[in-house]
């Protein structure tokens, strides 16, 4: 019998415990889940709490009720993981040895990591909504708010649910309007990114929505401190944004035991393989959920798809074979946009969010990157799906491989985007691959990433034709390592491309 320990009984930990228990008998695999307490929070619900859509008790259930029989739930804080000796030490002195370890303890908001983030204004004019307590306090603060400067602020990336701050802003705009104080409120969205969102098309669409709603966008803001006396946030380049009510998303860090165990990077995230979620330094450790370094959203949908890929790979890992299934970074995010509407984003490592429709089985096509009432209803319905299907490991009608069906793929060169034909988007049948080597990113019909309209390149695009001749005559010998310049089809531009900063 092998022993598998899961650190964290949240979304990813609970899902994978259910799926493992269903797939392996107790004689084959002993399963233990470790968490601090017996409260499982529906984190997507925090967003709605300040606006009174949900009550706190709708968002909390007991962890053990979602774990099947035959899974041990240990409630204790984790002291450290001794990876070479495959042992987890708990703060009460207990030691759990394992053959395989799943780290699913995610990331937590750390307000104290920002200077002034634990100052006297916290809970008064400085708020957040990334924990249940913070969201409840913000609900009170909003009820007392009579207008003024409302600032929504992201400290640094990555954060879990990266669209939630935008959603909060849209919902706040609606809430202020309905309470008759929108006219008396200056609403500002402050981000360390160079646009409303990271990916070009989504950034453009969401940036347009902000400006249409009269919300000021402050970009490239790297916060130095929250000035509690002046009630301002101050950036390293000395920009100051004053607030009467600040809703800040604190720095997100992995838990401290990751640092104590020497397993994490500077954000206490565990470096892991982009396709298999296997810890780079320790092959018997897998990282599921938000706690790893996958270059996609820290979101429940990613946790769900990554757990599926883990389950497909685990039999091979048990047998000591190569892992043949690869995650493509697929994320689906509903974005509340206010007034009973929502948007849907779908993207993966290679493909940014596009406009179009998402062919959701049963409920029909959902509009992508476009407001619709159905997207909002689907988001609200998801709470039921989460408690009743997702956590218990029941199959959902979504695939872990992203499809381009219905998406309007924007090309850098083409003005009119066309929906992808269905046949081009069939996901590669990874399971059928006879090759023992790990399957890398499946890339059917890989599109080029579109550029935001606001940022034209200062240099003309290279054409697909023959190489542009350089003004200085024949090329000097190509000193590049590993590049055969005689077969290199890319055109050579006569001068450097100067980036727009």
């Amino acid at each position: 019998m092998k022993r598998l320990v899961i650190l964290g009984g949240g979304t990813a930990g609970t899902m994978v415990a259910n799926k493992l228990r269903a797939a392996y008998s107790q004689d084959e695999l002993a399963l233990t889940v470790v968490d601090l307490d017996d409260q499982h929070h529906y984190q997507p619900g925090y967003l709605f709490l300040p606006f009174g859509t949900y009550r706190a008790q709708q968002l909390v259930r007991s962890r053990h009720s979602f774990l099947p029989d035959g899974v041990d739930l240990v409630l204790c804080e984790i002291d450290r993981v001794d990876a070479p000796f495959k042992t987890v030490y708990l703060t009460d002195g207990r030691a759990l040895s394992y053959d395989y370890l799943i780290i699913a303890t995610g990331v937590q908001p750390r307000p104290e990591a920002t200077t002034g983030g634990d100052g006297p204004e916290v809970g008064v004019s400085v708020h957040s909504f990334y924990t249940l307590e913070a969201a409840k306090e913000l609900a009170e603060a909003l009820r007392r708010f009579r207008g003024g400067k409302l600032v929504v602020h992201i400290t640094d990336m990555p954060i879990k649910c990266p669209v939630a701050p935008l959603e909060f802003t849209f919902l706040a705009e609606e809430w202020l309007t309905k309470h008759g104080i929108r006219e008396k409120t200056e609403l500002t969205y402050v981000t360390p990114l160079d646009g409303a969102f990271t990916k070009p098309v989504a950034s453009r669409e969401l940036g347009t929505m902000l400006s249409e709603k009269g919300i000021h966008l402050e970009t490239d803001f790297t916060i130095e401190r929250i000035d509690n006396d002046a009630k301002e946030i101050v950036s390293y380049d000395d920009r100051r944004v004053p607030f009467d009510l600040l809703v800040t998303i604190p720095l997100n860090l992995g838990p401290d035991y990751i640092a104590r165990s020497g397993l994490g990077d500077d954000l206490n995230l565990v470096p892991c393989d982009q396709q298999t979620m296997q810890a780079l330094a320790h092959p018997d450790i897998f990282v599921l959920g938000d706690g790893g370094t996958l270059l996609t959203s820290k979101a429940g949908s990613v946790a769900h798809f990554a757990v599926d890929i883990f389950m497909e790979n685990f039999p091979a890992h048990l047998a000591g074979a190569e892992l043949t299934h690869g995650f493509d970074g697929h994320a689906n995010c509903f974005i509340e946009s206010g007034y009973g509407k929502g948007l849907l984003l779908g993207f993966n490592y290679d493909t940014q969010p596009y406009t179009g429709t998402f062919p959701a089985p049963l409920i029909g096509p959902l509009a992508l990157l476009k407001e619709s009432r159905l997207n909002h209803l689907a988001k609200l319905a998801f709470r039921w799906v989460y408690w009743n299907m997702l956590l218990r490991g029941r199959p959902l009608p979504f695939t872990n491989k992203m499809s381009l069906v219905g998406k309007r793929v924007e090309d850098a060169g083409s003005a009119s985007a066309q929906p992808m034909p269905a046949k081009a988007s069939a996901p590669a049948p990874l399971a059928a691959s006879p090759k023992p080597a790990p399957v890398r990113k499946p890339a059917p019909a890989r599109p080029s990433i579109g550029k935001p309209a606001a940022k034209p390149s200062p240099t003309p695009r290279p054409s697909a034709g023959p190489a542009t001749p350089t003004p200085s005559g024949p090329l000097p010998p190509d000193p590049r390592k590993g590049v055969d310049s005689t077969t290199d089809p890319s055109p050579v531009l006569p001068g450097p491309i100067k980036p727009t900063f």
Binding site: I159, T222, D266, V483, P499
Partner: protein, 104 residues
């Protein structure tokens, strides 16, 4: 991915002008890139750039401002002074590294 002539040498870059091949960079090229974006490099700039190059060699990912500050020991405020405006992107550009992964 285009190839551009920088100082009579063909250099592989992405659409924004960031180098795509780690080995094509040397300090002479770094100085040329800095000049292109209006930076005059001091010893302190070079300390930052050498930290970034060495850090990237170990983990194949460009250090963020936070990492450059905590591991390299350069204050974020100082990085904003050395590489004004958008230090993370400018540092990566001059050091011949990919633009730091924003996020997702």
């Amino acid at each position: 991915m285009p190839t551009t002539m920088i100082g009579r040498r063909p250099i592989d870059v992405n659409d924004e002008g960031f180098l795509t091949a780690y080995d094509q960079w040397d300090e002479e090229l770094g100085a040329t890139l800095a000049e292109l974006i209006g930076l005059e490099l001091t010893d302190r700039h070079w300390q930052v750039l050498r930290f970034l190059r060495a850090d990237y060699a170990g983990r194949k990912e460009t250090a963020t401002l936070r990492r450059t500050s905590t591991l390299g020991g350069f204050g974020i405020k100082e990085l904003f002074t050395l590489f004004p405006g958008k230090p993370a992107k400018k540092m990566a550009y001059v050091a011949g590294l990919p633009k730091p992964k924003g996020c997702v």
